[in-house]
Symmetry: D2
Subunit: 337 residues, 4 copies
Amino acid sequence: MMTVGVNGYGTIGKRVADAVSAQPDMRVVGVSKRSPNHEARAATEIGYDLYPADPDRTDEFEQRGIPVAGSFSELVAAGDVVVDATPSGVGETYRDLYKEHDTSVVYQGGEDPDVAPHSFNARTNYSDSLNSTATRVVSCNTTGLARAVTPLREQYGVQSLDATLIRRGGDPTQTDRGPINDILPDPIGVPSHHAPDLQAIMPDLDVTTKGVTVPATLMHLHSVTVSLEADPTAATVRELLNDENRIELISTASGCQSCAEIQEYVLDTGRRRGDVWENCVWADSIDVSDGRLSFFQAIHQQADVVPESVDAVRALCGAMDGEESRSTTDESLGVGM
Amino acid sequence: MMTVGVNGYGTIGKRVADAVSAQPDMRVVGVSKRSPNHEARAATEIGYDLYPADPDRTDEFEQRGIPVAGSFSELVAAGDVVVDATPSGVGETYRDLYKEHDTSVVYQGGEDPDVAPHSFNARTNYSDSLNSTATRVVSCNTTGLARAVTPLREQYGVQSLDATLIRRGGDPTQTDRGPINDILPDPIGVPSHHAPDLQAIMPDLDVTTKGVTVPATLMHLHSVTVSLEADPTAATVRELLNDENRIELISTASGCQSCAEIQEYVLDTGRRRGDVWENCVWADSIDVSDGRLSFFQAIHQQADVVPESVDAVRALCGAMDGEESRSTTDESLGVGM
Amino acid sequence: MMTVGVNGYGTIGKRVADAVSAQPDMRVVGVSKRSPNHEARAATEIGYDLYPADPDRTDEFEQRGIPVAGSFSELVAAGDVVVDATPSGVGETYRDLYKEHDTSVVYQGGEDPDVAPHSFNARTNYSDSLNSTATRVVSCNTTGLARAVTPLREQYGVQSLDATLIRRGGDPTQTDRGPINDILPDPIGVPSHHAPDLQAIMPDLDVTTKGVTVPATLMHLHSVTVSLEADPTAATVRELLNDENRIELISTASGCQSCAEIQEYVLDTGRRRGDVWENCVWADSIDVSDGRLSFFQAIHQQADVVPESVDAVRALCGAMDGEESRSTTDESLGVGM
Amino acid sequence: MMTVGVNGYGTIGKRVADAVSAQPDMRVVGVSKRSPNHEARAATEIGYDLYPADPDRTDEFEQRGIPVAGSFSELVAAGDVVVDATPSGVGETYRDLYKEHDTSVVYQGGEDPDVAPHSFNARTNYSDSLNSTATRVVSCNTTGLARAVTPLREQYGVQSLDATLIRRGGDPTQTDRGPINDILPDPIGVPSHHAPDLQAIMPDLDVTTKGVTVPATLMHLHSVTVSLEADPTAATVRELLNDENRIELISTASGCQSCAEIQEYVLDTGRRRGDVWENCVWADSIDVSDGRLSFFQAIHQQADVVPESVDAVRALCGAMDGEESRSTTDESLGVGM
């Protein structure tokens, strides 16, 4: 049984904790949280041991009747692995503490690539992180691109990838983020940081990414063009992507024509929090013309890195090979609509 | 065991079906649906018998592999009660059919008040609809106002009510509704239709309502002013509202400062679809000055009429008194955070 | 000829500069700006002398070819009056400098009321600031309320005022402000800060204000209820408000049913920047029932304090009485659609 | 002096009327309008003769005091050319009437290409429409692409063009259009209709376009990738585009980082209605890698076809060659920031 601590019980951390709990070979030893808010309370109601990240605020938790299991160092010491789900750039500040306790760590994509010896996608380069002490799951957008490009590379070869990433301005509860009514090239410079992030796990890929930010909160939408080294039919590409368990082909006939409709669908099926772990590729958007493949996919920024984070724990522990880990994770969570 | 058919398996209908299923004394005999889309498929996956509302499209269901249980008339005949959750103004077109089959019916607030002999709120006038053949649950906004005003009237007396209803422009999947970037007095005329709708269940209430539409999808927000016949403290009013099971006092300290944060909280607790059946009143907004009470409440347009629809079924069947019905409904659903 | 410097050439400052320039009895001696951006360039293209607010960045202006007229102190010294249009809370930091140069100053409503001996609305209390060294124009929302309430008080007497202020989340170019998809009671506590701000110019007014923030950028919308000491007809109130030059009655029949349509209308008439200096009251929303008056008004947060700032300059200079100043300002600008 | 009637005085029509008025060699003989609303009134206040499009509603205009100049047929008869700016698909219904009066006509891109013998872009194929009786200005998005691609083709040759068109959901006053909080592939199928629309004026272009709709009202944003037949430097491409008068290079250093900031800038410079006639290409987004050129451009859907419509009038009249017409139009309007 791998023991896992989760540092940062926010948007990603709470999902990772639930996903780890659902695995047959893992156990959550506790979660940390900075503020004694409703998320902290919800964590204890689910049954997670709670460790305040900030020792100066321990009293606040107790004053609000939120039980505290121990100090933050105790949490780090208790886990074989910590999944660090703290805000961008914060994870790095814990690096020495993790080392001190000989606890392996899975960082998120908000950290600089050099926070860990490897960057990670379960489909692309699982084995690079086997038995390492640290790895970094690439960001939600990069994860989405990696999942789609990897089988295309294996099957056809990829000359170049051009993707426009139409990014949600903020998550649903980030009420202080905009824009309210604007479309921003973000960043203006081309390529955006996603291209080098993707190259961190596929060093020889010729890739250009462009980022745009829009007033929406639900999912990112990718407009992807791939120059293949072969010229398959659209139907063949559909089959190839359909064989990937973390890619879901969305049929227009089903009525799912937008990000909101995808979220409604998964809520209707009873998925907690409306999480969409899979790349959602619209089947009808897949078009191939002279080896130039185009398609749209939607990526749920709150959920798509969750199964990858679970797999990263197994890679660090050397517990399984990538294929077995992915299938264990997916079966436990119910990935694949 | 009361048998219930649900006509219209959309935003309201699918929630009503699940809520009826959760009752100890009710059973869903089937649901109807016009289009063979992903909602129709989801209904059959949950296990509901599906009856196409449009006989001309029965074949389409079968072509998509969605099993059909029978004709629409059979559904109407099979239930003691039909909950009509068809779009505004459509319910009325089924009135003769319901009568023909001697099936009682619960209409929604989108219908004209004269579609049924009574309008209904479980807290305000449950007994008016006892053993009737038809009743109409008032709209989501009116339901929210009724729940808050009823205990205030009982306890203090109400001289007048002024409410500004800041309405979401559309539900999350209604991508063809706006506005995108505007604030509209909607309607421009004062009062809006909510005032007479409220008077349909509280005929002697002096009430003015103003409607405004904004670019948001999650919940309505009410800014309420009530002139009371007494001058209680804010703390007393808090206690009074806190005693109502379908009113939830939201504490600012918890971090729930907006509609999005309320939805995130209920999703975190595992509620299906993020449904908020309760009026959410911000405790810190309750202010009383010279008997003039002010507060903010958020109303989930997709969910707040669901427990009322369940109670309305019981009223028509004469199965219980209002208090017993409300407590049975609430316990079965988990109303009360 | 009154000489006026404008400190802060942003959303408000650039409009004040243009409005001052349009007056027959005033002259802009220069404007200050912190960043050498496109607004700074536009200022010099219009012909304003530009004074960098931050001496350390003077070189940056010159490097970008934006001519600099002198040091910031020189600007302060050159004007009879400075209109301070710096961001909220910044104006106060200049107070000593203004005193040192014996320059009178008009602050904006983002400053604390005690920044100046008086708060100011041209219609409500012009004479309080006559020949003073400093005054503070109340905020855009408060200005809008003051303009509407003042004639109602004079004509009928006001027992109490309840207003729900539905505020735009940010100005059009404030792309880092939200919310994107939410409705927030903001602040949650009642009353919002607008009530005491209004009492700063009408000390004996019984007023409760509630603030709500929504995802829109164009204008604020006020839902107003006034308990009058008389019971006039709606038609009489319409006439009364129609007589106010800074209140525009919007007829629904004209097609202006929302904030966006008001802005389009003024842009069509050729107004620079689409500025709406007037309170826009929807005529059809005016309703009186037992002396309780209700109406909707839209307030352009970028423009409505501009004529007031011009009048405030005249009050400090003791140049005219309030009525003459208002009519001079309005005629020069073209206030009144 | 060419005489021009404008059929449809809405978003496009009112701008075309003003642009035609500004030309030294053209005169507006009148405009038509269906509803006697504030736009109709504004037209007469500017001085345009107004012809009701619907004879049954002529009385309504007069009842509201909006002067009527004559019947719709008289307007068609009076002009050498009619610019048809009616809603999509409506223009076609007037075709026979235009023919009957021997009046040439400029249609907009909402009509089917076969409404006229040619489709038109002033930079791409002006001469095709010389002395013709009808032409059709391609849609705003296609116009934006044509302006950018034409010089690239001339200078370097274009192998293929891939563009993702991130479209505003509606214009500012279209309050009934969404989405409110969603990102939609629109259409889901690839390519979108813009590719064949572009091929209507560049038949041999290898082009794939993808459409996405987002909750914004201000401008469209294009993410463009062009495979060139040469491998120029980014700086060279910047110069090439900078030489085009209807392309404006936006410098990030200026502070214009989004569509909203572009609109604010042009409003500051005093342009009526904030119209942006030019393609706005962010200079810093121009990137060339192995002959694959990438850039972002913003397109003002309300204004970019206006100068093209003016040029189309000249082409039909055979009055000038394309280069002379474009430079006359641009000088008269002030195109080029």
